[in-house]
């Protein structure tokens, strides 16, 4: 072995493994992209799948009723997808917002206020997260439908998502709030801030990175969730994942449209994560107190 090769694995198996992993992770995405750009004829043909003339027809079909022009190739415009996209965005944003608002307050109370059962609440809230959604599905469906009539409503699904994500958000934010120096809050108190002002004007801005991390997490869960959405939502309130699955019928599977929908489904979380992660800057408390 010469010195040059130190630290550089030369074993071909290493590269083989890398390639395998790459194919496994990128393969489905590449397949989704290419399929979404193909006509059904190309998709079904046995010929090499890499040679085709790309087209946006599938996207036009999916987005037909939000486009500013009338796509020539769409005979009948099915508004299902654009409606589902709107539903998904609304449900994900609403549940994220409510979870964060409740979560940051609960986390603050659990960290800063001394009351009986504080530790128990903190632990049990996290244990709730350990219950698989499939277990919750049946009772939630029953209660929502027969007791409260919340089935098929946005309120019903947002409530479930908030309940599902709250424990984890509280848990994340607790660890951020613990790091806010007590002196900072005391300084605000000396400056005449009341407890709400201390919380909103001093503590929240300092834990912005935590809020951003929690927001990304919550948004993605609400966006991708299928099981509960499938059970609780109806035709008009369905989210995108449910819509995609429902478009697989026994008579016709329009792969091109499904893949285009999948592509569109992937975009909002990317944008949201990108925007939110800008808030995750390390050293937010730099300069607050002597480190």
């Amino acid at each position: 072995m010469t010195k040059k090769t130190v630290g550089r694995p030369k074993n071909p198996a290493f590269y083989a493994l890398m390639v395998a992993l790459l194919v496994m992770s990128l393969g489905p995405i590449i397949m989704m992209v290419t399929t979404s750009l193909k006509l059904n004829v190309d998709i079904m043909s046995d010929a090499s799948s890499l040679w085709f003339s790309p087209t946006l027809e599938n996207y036009e079909t999916v987005l037909c009723d939000v486009l500013w022009y009338e796509p020539v190739n769409v005979d009948y415009c099915n508004p299902t997808f654009s409606r589902a996209l709107g539903n998904s965005i609304f449900i994900a944003l609403m549940s994220t917002a409510i979870t964060l608002i409740l979560g940051c307050m609960a986390a603050y109370a659990l960290v800063r206020f001394k009351f009986m059962g504080r530790g128990t609440i903190s632990m049990t809230s996290l244990m709730m997260r350990m219950v698989p959604p499939a277990v919750l599905l049946v009772p939630v469906f029953g209660i929502w439908t027969f007791n409260y009539g919340l089935d098929g409503t946005f309120a019903g699904i947002v409530l479930v998502y908030v309940a599902m994500n709250l424990p984890f958000v509280i848990w994340i934010l607790q660890s951020f709030i613990v790091q806010v120096p007590m002196q900072l809050e005391e300084a605000a108190k000396m400056d005449g801030a009341n407890p709400l002002q201390i919380f909103f004007l001093v503590v929240l801005p300092v834990i912005t990175p935590g809020l951003a991390a929690a927001a990304i997490f919550t948004f993605r869960i609400a966006w991708n969730e299928f099981l509960l959405a499938n059970a609780l939502l109806n035709r008009d309130t369905r989210t995108v994942p449910v819509t995609i699955v429902n478009s697989l019928t026994e008579y016709d599977i329009d792969w091109g449209v499904i893949m285009a929908t999948g592509m569109l489904l992937a975009i909002p979380p990317i944008i949201f994560t990108f925007v939110a992660s800008k808030q995750i800057i390390t050293g937010m408390t730099a300069g607050a107190v002597k480190g």
């Binding site: 000396m190 400056d191 801005p205 300069g287 107190v289 002597k290």
Partner: protein, 364 residues
Amino acid sequence: MPVITFKNLRKAYGSAEIIHGIDLVMEDHEFTVFVGPSGCGKSTILRMLAGLETVTSGQILMNGKDISQLEPIERDVAMVFQDYALYPHMNVAKNMSFALRLAKYPKAEISQRINNVAAMLGLETLLHRKPGQLSGGQRQRVAMGRALVRDASSLLMDEPLSNLDAKLRVQMRTELAIIRDKIEKNIIYVTHDQVEAMTLGDRIVVMREGSIQQHGTPQELFETPANKFVAGFMGMPPMNFMDATLVEENDKLLAHTACFSLPVKDLHNKHQLPSSGEVTIGIRPSALLPVVAADETSEHTLTLLIKVCEYTGSQSLLIAEANGVRVLVEVNSQPSFKVGDNIKFSVKPSDIYVFDRNTELAIY
């Protein structure tokens, strides 16, 4: 500016009482320094005065009005925290104006006050920086500025200089002394550094384990300490203590120790001496004078074996031993002393402090 009075002030956490009934009057426009070793309760007292800690019993009066149950903002006090506690998401101007903005002051007045204080503290060019972009000394000044902008009648400072490096600390101490003369306020300052206490304070309160040991001017504390603790705490390097027996010979008081005897000044309250004559004597390191050769005849000297010589410039600190007892001596570096030498030292009788060995109270 108000007179601040503590009346039998106590603080307990559960059954553990940490402040044992403090009675104290801090006069108008006075710089009071609370000093003591860590854990003596000095910060707790400051926080009780600020309203950050509840008062277990007793009263805090400001011009005769009991403020001990009021919210911090209603007490007319501003505070500088040990770790600065600057709001990291606000720039310097926003940090300083936070209290004024909460109190809904008009914008023009806020900016005028900020400009005044910034000019006094030399912060004009830093107003738009965030705390993270400031150095330690600058942060310290911003923290002070934030307290000054409020124009409260009393300014509380909790070890404000302890996080600065040695050089900056001395520099800020000087600046603080200058600012102190510019502002007409009561300043209550907590520190564990007796040099800060001596140089800044009009009056010093020496605390130990939740009780006041002595309250007085720096000179009073240095020259007439009330007990062994105050004597040992004030002054750097610290006072030497030795067990001794006081004996009266030919109308003169002599302190006998195992290896030497020294004359002690005439005590006015001899009746307080324990009948056995067993006392502790204290000698400041600077009070020990090397005996020059011509003076060798003097009978009341003590001979010290030099163990370590710490050269600090014009002065040197000798760590010496007399019969196994360690003694610190502060001498001029010229003439120099060699480690291992046996040197004779004399002490003026008036420079020897006498303490009761059991109660540790000073006897004069």
